[in-house]
């Protein structure tokens, strides 16, 4: 099939990480077309066995991230015309994660690391007590707010070269969540968080290359959050020894 300006030549990954390959599909080009629209069109019109993951389609759920022309992106909010290479598109599963099939990755390692980094709520009060009053102008609240819009899409994790070279490294998303909770007045376990991110695969492995911050679709700054954790753990290191 010949390619023309009304048609996209889409290479989509098929199979698993090791034995998979790219398969070329020709998809009609439309205005305001997103990468997820393209993948869905292939699945609905050309090959019903193409596996991929999505849910909300509006950039809220963090389910649909994929590698698009070699770059991790949220596909539901990425317009084809902004990332097209000529009339070609290459769509692949996210880097740094196991592939289940085709474009769907196994997110378990990503979420397991959130738990390892103590990226879970440690309440300060019971449900019977009154809700804590939060000062929105406090410095710590501002730090917590800076990372609170993370949608767990794993784009930063996929972009991180340190994760690529050290599969056990906790990664930017889990560390940013840890920093958010560390600064949250409603979280009771600051020491547990610092302990969790100070291990052999914790925040000190970050080289501050900044890919996480460059590619975060919500324009968050995980690199700054990790720098905050490094500073907090350094302070804690001296306190323990004084």
């Amino acid at each position: 099939m010949s390619a023309n300006c009304d048609e996209l030549e889409v290479s989509a990954w098929r199979g698993d990480r090791l034995s998979g390959h790219f398969e070329v599909f020709h998809v009609p080009a439309n205005d305001s077309q997103t990468i997820l629209d393209v993948v869905s069109w292939i699945q609905q019109n050309l090959d019903a066995t193409l596996s991929y993951r999505y849910a909300c389609r509006v950039g809220m759920c963090g389910s649909c991230a994929m590698m698009v022309n070699g770059v991790p992106r949220w596909t539901c909010r990425t317009h084809v015309k902004k990332v097209m290479n000529g009339n070609k598109l290459e769509v692949a599963p996210l880097r740094n994660l196991p592939v289940i099939k085709d474009l769907a990755t196994d997110m378990d390692p990503f979420f397991d690391k959130w738990i390892t980094a103590e990226g879970l709520h440690h309440p300060t009060k019971t449900r019977d007590e009154p809700i804590e009053t939060i000062n929105p102008d406090s410095t710590m609240r501002a730090e917590a707010n800076a990372g609170i819009e993370c949608i767990n899409c794993s784009v930063c994790y996929s972009a991180c070269d340190t994760v690529a070279d050290n599969v056990d490294y906790l990664g930017p998303a889990a560390l940013q969540r840890a920093w958010t909770l560390f600064n949250d007045a409603k979280d009771s376990s600051q020491n547990a968080i610092l302990e969790a991110v100070s291990g052999a695969n914790g925040c000190h492995n970050c080289h501050s290359q900044g890919s996480c911050t460059v590619f975060c679709p919500n324009e968050l700054n995980p690199m700054k959050a990790i720098a905050g954790l490094k500073k907090a753990t350094a302070k804690s290191f001296f306190k323990k020894r004084v």
């Binding site: 100070s198 291990g199 052999a200 695969n201 914790g202 000190h204 490094k230 350094a234 290191f237």
Partner: protein, 110 residues
């Protein structure tokens, strides 16, 4: 494979190395201005406890700092882990310490 202890050790040794490196450069520039000979330099360094402490502390800091840096590179590039990585770090550190101490003692012992 870099926990908070090794991270802090590398940062603290960097803090030690920075002024010592500047001091070394200043001394080198001073030494070549007047065309000091090797014998003249050695006559000033040999038997000097201050030069022993100056370069000795630099060697100790370097042997720790560089070994930790190489540990990270070797882990990420070659995949060395756990015991092998710890042994590698220790061997590099001791090797640098031995080589550096040998050089420092050669120019400071009378």
């Amino acid at each position: 494979m870099l926990g908070v202890r090794l991270y802090m050790l590398q940062r603290l040794t960097a803090l030690i190395m920075a002024p010592l490196t500047l001091g070394h450069i200043v001394v080198m520039i001073y030494a070549i201005q007047g065309g000091l000979s090797t014998a003249e330099i050695l006559s000033r360094t040999q038997g000097s406890i201050w030069w022993l402490l100056f370069y000795g502390s630099f060697v100790v800091a370097v042997s720790l700092h560089a070994a930790i840096g190489l540990r990270v590179i070797v882990h990420e590039m070659l995949g060395l882990k756990r015991l092998a990585l710890n042994v590698f770090t220790l061997v590099i550190s001791l090797l640098l310490l031995f080589m550096g101490a040998r050089a420092v003692l050669a120019v400071t012992l009378s």
